[in-house]
Symmetry: C2
Subunit: 387 residues, 2 copies
């Protein structure tokens, strides 16, 4: 086990109707806030009205900035920064999913500095302070509600960049599983794949002697695997929605990563796909992860056999562990298919002709991933397996 630090100070308020308490909690931090949100669903569902009412009853003033898109844009972030400065705002309440929260984080550390916020995403500057952030979560997937990271896209430069810094963890996250009843089946499945990918990126490690965190990861994966079919069949299944929502948060708050090094190769490969093609991040991950596994499993057959046995309940073939390892990968792929996700690039209408370009952008002059260091040729091979 590696030495580690773990600090996760986001207060979670979880359950039915909790969004009605958000005003009282927000009032602990600010008297005037920015409500940041996305498109129509938060309006249509009446959620935004309930949040406004809760803020008003707690005596918290607010201004609003909606319109966050999936793959949140730096142009809207810049608009938010100007608005916060003009209105003298010190707290941002993100009402939405990962894109809204990531956009709010970017506004949060853009406000105190005089240079362009995109500099942080080019890694030429490091954020040292930021406005406080609070969250009312509507989509379990990204884990951004208690994670220290933010992914933002720069339309002009055609870049999608992630930033991680411990100062980014929100002060609080209100999580009501009822708010996810209306998520379409495909978005629910994409969220599940994203959550599973967050766990699997941590699970496939070269760090030895990580039994507790292995088992925590397996707990999360099994919970998602067991509950997603229920909510696809019955979108209003509160308890299964709750299992998914809470697992999705813990999956990415770094507890499952304590004392071990994660991989993150599949995420970096997927980012190249969704930077070019209009595909959902979770769908992209469902395509990339099995292909990545087929490429790398021989590096540590024991770990893949453990994954197969403990996560998928497959019987270990003690005389041929490789067979067990492969069976686990096939089960993952079959699971993704069964919940309506693509497992090949062609199913997402992503053609094969730009594979060399994506592989090159993904690895630059070096490699990607930690479990196995993947060079351009290896990433090309993975994308070819995913065709």
């Amino acid at each position: 086990m590696d030495n580690f630090e773990f600090y996760n100070p986001t207060k979670i308020v979880f359950g039915k109707g909790v969004e009605n308490q958000v005003g009282a909690e927000t009032a602990k931090y600010a008297k005037k806030v920015l409500i940041h949100f996305g498109g129509g669903s938060a309006i249509k569902s009446g959620l935004l009205d309930r949040v406004r009412a809760s803020l008003k009853s707690a005596g918290v003033e607010f201004v609003e900035l909606g319109g966050v898109q999936p793959n949140p844009r730096v142009t809207l972030v810049r608009e938010g920064i100007e608005l916060c400065r003009k209105e003298n705002i010190s707290f941002i309440l993100a009402v939405g999913g990962g894109s809204v929260i990531d956009s709010a984080k970017a506004i949060g550390f853009g406000v105190p500095v005089s240079h362009d916020v995109w500099d942080f995403y080019e890694y030429t500057k490091t954020p040292e302070k930021m406005l406080d952030i609070g969250v009312v979560l509507t989509i379990p997937a990204a884990g951004s509600e208690s994670s220290p990271s933010s992914v933002v896209s720069n339309e002009e430069k055609q870049l999608k960049r992630g930033l991680t810094n411990e100062i980014m963890r929100p002060r609080f996250a209100f999580m009501n599983p009822e708010l996810t009843f209306t998520l379409p089946a495909y978005q629910t499945a994409c969220g599940a794949a994203d959550i599973m990918a967050h766990i699997m990126e941590r699970y496939f490690t070269n760090t030895k002697n990580v039994e507790f965190t292995d088992r925590l990861c397996e707990s999360g994966l099994k919970t998602i695997i067991n509950n997603v079919p229920h909510v696809l069949e019955n979108p209003d299944d509160y308890n299964s929605r709750a299992e998914i929502m809470w697992t999705g948060c813990v999956a990415h708050n770094d507890l499952f990563n304590t004392g071990r090094e994660g991989d993150w190769g599949s995420h970096s490969i997927e980012h190249e796909i969704s930077a070019i093609y209009d595909v959902a991040h979770g769908a992209g991950l469902a395509v990339v992860f099995p292909a990545w596994m087929k490429q790398v499993y021989k590096h540590d057959v024991a770990r893949f056999a453990q994954f197969a046995e403990r996560v998928w309940g497959l019987e270990m073939d003690h005389f041929n562990p490789e067979r067990t390892a492969l069976a686990g990968i096939h089960r993952l792929e079959a699971f993704f298919s069964s919940i309506g996700l693509p497992v090949r690039l062609s199913e997402m209408e992503v053609p094969a002709d730009r594979i060399p370009e994506m592989a090159k952008k993904c690895t630059g002059s070096g490699t990607t991933g930690n479990f196995v260091k993947l060079d351009t040729a290896a990433v090309t091979e993975i994308l070819n397996r995913a065709k």
Copy 2:
């Protein structure tokens, strides 16, 4: 799943040699602190010297108060309160195990108030603020390094009382598994039983639809069960010590309790035993828990069968689940015996003649426990099973 709040802001710094960074972390909170510790082991091992050196090099002044005993005494707490006032101290660094940390917490909320600190443990007053606390942990067991609770004994009144309040969570906990190499086998085993009990108190619940937290609990239990035999055989096994130490912390930080109600009957019964007899808390729990299980398992055979199958790897007898449930209880009992713990009161030289008295004190005019509400007669029966 029940609605819940979860807020665990203790910063964990975990691994080899981390105690040497404690000065720098402490300096973020105070320029002068109280070092609070127990008996000789922190001195003999050189740990206290390293902590002093780390504080000095960070420019943090300190005064010291040692002598905390297992079942920490309110008389020493009062001494600590006076010392902090006299020396104008606003931060307490606890160097030790659960007793030292619990004592430090009591000093922490005793300092700001004019009434006696014991009033908090009589529940006639509620702490509203306290000095900041930091921890260098030496014994994985109590989980007090990131928990919001403190247990203190009043020698004059022959009472042992626990207090829970979210303000009590320490600011940070430095956890170096190497510091646990010198723990005697019996103390190691008692710590393991305490950790397992913290998880099982949460596991046996009437709350339905708690799959994720069930699985998290099982992860913790399996990790302890797998690693304790290794450290008993080889006390310097860093990785197994690390698994136990990290599991012991997470076991009691309330994550495993999110969305569900715990039981805590076995803890309350054990407190009555150790309030009269000089037995280690963990040993008392090893005696009480299997007896409690035999008393209550019929209340939810499915849950006990799940415990047997998932935690102990027993094959489910689908035609006779009760048999599986009982087999799991027997496995727990056999495990405690195998690591050198008593599983009967007689093995701790606790006679049976005060069972009625203990049962009465434990339940008062009501009941104890949530999974099954136990009245005096039920607790008597449990203690008789444990004879």
